[in-house]
Symmetry: D2
Subunit: 333 residues, 4 copies
């Protein structure tokens, strides 16, 4: 309560807590009175206590999420995607082109990354583009090319879905539905992929706090779908020498708070291919459960995000560096 | 080009520009070679020049948007909403509850703000909530209550639409479709409200640059709907004493770059009712074309965002302060 | 305490609080145990409770500053600078060149702003420059030119001091010592200007929270100098269309928390002269106690920060707009 | 130039460039005219072109720093500190208490870290504290304790210097002078440590861009002191689950731009001991030339930053994890 709160104002807050079935403990200090409230987190979160006269601030102590938390599920989750596992020691290595552009580019890139031993294939068919004049993806034709690449390589496919109405068609062709950074708080979409049941790769938004990101995952779990993989892909800060600031601190933080696996996207996170290898190794060392990396057989001709894609030879070099690193960290690639 | 770029690399970039129908001008300095490129902005933006060997950086000089720009339409736009105008001197004053909760609350708050002379009514029926356990709005029942409030007061209604499939039902009841901060880059939704044709209130995302925000507006204009009102509602920064950092600098910047009207939301921007009046006055003085303010007849019982809603008496006091301020600034409330 | 804290761990924290002379109140909830602590804020702040096993988080409830707070001095402070007052309704209007460059430029600009009715003159003699190769100011020669400008116009002079050893020489010539944004947490310098006793203009750092800024002011007051004027000058965010993000939200926040006057610097805050007028008006409307604006008789030849300086005619136009605005807001310029 | 720039305005800019001894190349596009300027970077940087009428924006192409750049010194620098090397494959491992508190604590912690094989000892004698009421360090008594710890262990000592006048006394006792994050743009201090000649550990400020940080290093090199070690210690972002956001992206970026060694401080960067090990490993994998880690023999009694200090057993465990990781990365600890 504020320093000038009256006894009546204190009493009103206590009465409101009482009415809501929560216990209230009043402690009077020299400079301020503090009211401790004990109750179910949903009940407490729903009370508009900051609107009460005399209330200075409300400090929530309980975490607002439940199903994604370590407290509910102390053991790390393992997500199984057509026999490829991720989480709790299983490392998920996802690679492929930013965007599906042509049959040749898709199949060639898929074969390159499969030969290097990745566990899943990525590729964008529906593309969220900042400008309405930019290439928006091959859409359903792109889904078919990805399905063909899966057939050719045996790799499960991760691809983005951007709107509720497309969840069914994307789920028909893809093995993991990606929710992009710009849709992390598109709650209608989250509810829809929860119903669909397929594994979800949930990217962190560029200005989403870790708590908000976990709450977005909670939407999917609360909707009945436990198969969520989190993906750190860079946050927006003042620094402009990288496109975003890949926040590897999020890895140990998420590991402490949640049982869900978390992977790192150094391609979008840095926006420059020259920084991808350093940050991929750093992500692995920080404890990530996987990596997602953009590879293009000819980045100079890519229709989107060419600057951040690795060429096949650079990707092969990175894999050669990651394997012994993984081994010493007790993981296997 | 980088300091170590070879003549072949320079030639490759020039050839690629040439192939795309753009002109290339090579200037050799002491420490670096610079290639100037002249051509259509869509052509240039689509070239993956950063992926070329030897390229150090690509600096776009032309703005990536067109239809929203001052260069295309030098005169400020005026949006007409059932006879209430906004833009080019017409001030749009939007007020109402954060969330439509009950018939009594909605009608009472609508009557309060109508009596104070606002030009439009706001209220949330579909609510984007960070937590899946929070109240998600009355949905279609809420739309009906808003329609009744419009009938009772004559005020046009602004309400949020969160997914493409709901655009029709929201457009049936509302006069302005609000795109919330979390959906500013939900491109499927932007395309859908463009088709619908109703005026759109496009909130800036909490980490959307002004350029990205204008590109989101460009989606709506490029889709055939010129009736976009921009809304600054606070960006995410390191400062925690306000919920967001209301970025009033965006007002003169948008006024310089675009012909679209822009309004200010000091309620969400600050997150605290105590700061709303100061920032509302500041927004008006900065040159905004309107304000959008949350009012609740009983904030201590509000189901969402109570801390930032003004009570009727505080709102009346603010209106009394704004009117002479508007007059001296050459506007009329 | 964390959900898995043991009774022994809880007891250890209570024992440590007890030992420090603070009272401890233990509340056991369903999911967590909370220990409330009551005691002197300095004692509590000094306890390393987060290092204790089983402690999940420490949430300070009392503000860490005292002398700058409204709770200690409910009435707004007024700072008197050679008869010109600032604070509690007295509006301080500070203008002048970014940098003192030549006698002619300094005297001409001083006369221009004096003629427009400003209350104080600004100008940089010691300049903090990001690059070692940039012009570093005229230093002591610059101080003498400012003193001459004061003699010519009667205006008190504000100028920056950058290191403890220069406080005496700057104080000899200047009426207000400015602490620049980069030195807001240069604690040695803060202690030294506290001893000096002259009024201090304390700029907010580009990434200083309002609480940290007030604590820097507390250094000056705790050192025996009550004459501190705060200055908001823009914070660093992701937005690049302005040089910084002028945070006008800080005005009502500081007004609520502190009795110190606060002024706004729209020149540095935006970095572009085109946005200065809008943000100056907005700062006045937000409740600032003053403005500090850069004026240059020939910005195209300025040795620093030319892009953000107003020419004399633009400054005259701004003054003409500010005067009626101030009047309707109950201030006088 | 802006779209509406007149031929006279274009000519004025060209004339000014000419007058300054720079070459100007004018290219006329469909929507805008671009003036390319070629000349010495200091000359160009000093021209106030943004203040010229008709100028829309100035885009610098050359980097503003020289001595710290890879272009000047393509080979990585090695800094030699009393026989301990850092840079170009030599890994510098710095550990010790945040603050020197007592003789017993200092010597005991120094012996612990020496036994684990670190190469240097850290410890704060002069402490920059946000609050004037917090413990400000043992000052010169602290320097003597550090000197004794060096004698006992043979480890070179790193400690912070906060003001120009203390450079001599700190340099007398310490082997590396640390410039703290809050002083990264304290240019008077940078000039003074440049003169002193001792190796400098230059922390990145919490909101300093990488370019500004390199320019601060340039102050030291331009002052005649080539022995600068950069230190990434976390930047300020919107995320609050860590105290700062340790920006490991800075490692590959600095490696690309500069020849100076760069070390990582995961203790300050995260602010929580639980995240230190993950981020130390990640920093090593990202390519850092060293680590600086806080260790305290009894964090629960630390006088500052207890929450981020490792206990001796946790530190030993981290060393055991780092050694094989370093080996596989081709480094030796």
């Amino acid at each position: 309560m504020s320093a000038h709160a009256t006894p009546d104002q204190i009493e009103d807050v206590v009465a409101r807590l009482d009415e809501a079935g929560c216990a209230a403990y009043v402690t009077e200090g020299k400079d301020a009175t503090v009211i401790g409230a004990i109750g179910e987190r949903e009940l407490l979160a729903a009370l508009p206590l900051e609107g009460f006269p005399g209330v200075e601030q409300v400090l929530p102590i309980l975490k607002p999420y439940k199903l994604v938390s370590r407290e509910i599920s102390p053991d790390p989750s393992v997500i199984d995607v057509r026999g490829r596992r991720i989480g709790h020691g299983w490392f998920g290595f996802i690679a492929g082109p930013c965007t599906v552009e042509t049959r040749a580019q898709t199949l060639e890139t898929a074969r390159v990354v499969a030969a290097e031993g990745v566990t899943m294939l990525r590729g964008g068919a529906f593309k969220p583009r900042t400008s309405p004049y930019a290439f928006q993806g091959l859409e359903e034709e792109g889904l078919r090319l990805l399905r063909d690449a899966r057939k050719a390589t045996g790799l499960p496919v991760v691809t983005e879905v951007m709107e509720p109405d497309k969840v069914d068609v994307v789920a028909e062709h893809a093995d993991i539905l990606q929710i992009g950074a710009r849709n992390v708080q598109n709650f209608s979409l989250l509810k829809r992929v929860a119903e669909c049941g397929k594994p979800v790769l949930l990217k962190r938004g560029m200005s989403t706090s870790i708590q908000e990101w976990l709450l977005s995952a909670e939407y999917v779990l609360a909707g009945g779908n436990p198969n969520v993989i989190l993906c750190e892909r860079g946050i927006r800060t003042f620094e402009t020498s990288t496109r975003y600031t890949l926040d590897l601190n999020a890895i140990p933080v998420v590991k402490k708070l949640s049982h869900l696996p978390v992977v790192v996207d150094p391609s979008h996170g840095t926006g420059h291919w020259e920084y991808v290898a350093a940050m991929a190794k750093a992500g692995l060392a920080a404890g990530a459960d996987g990596l997602i990396i953009e590879v293009h057989n000819n980045p100079a001709e890519a229709l989107s995000d060419g600057p951040q894609s690795l060429k096949p030879d650079k990707f092969a070099k990175l894999m050669a560096e990651l394997k012994p690193l993984a081994q010493v960290l007790g993981r296997s690639l």
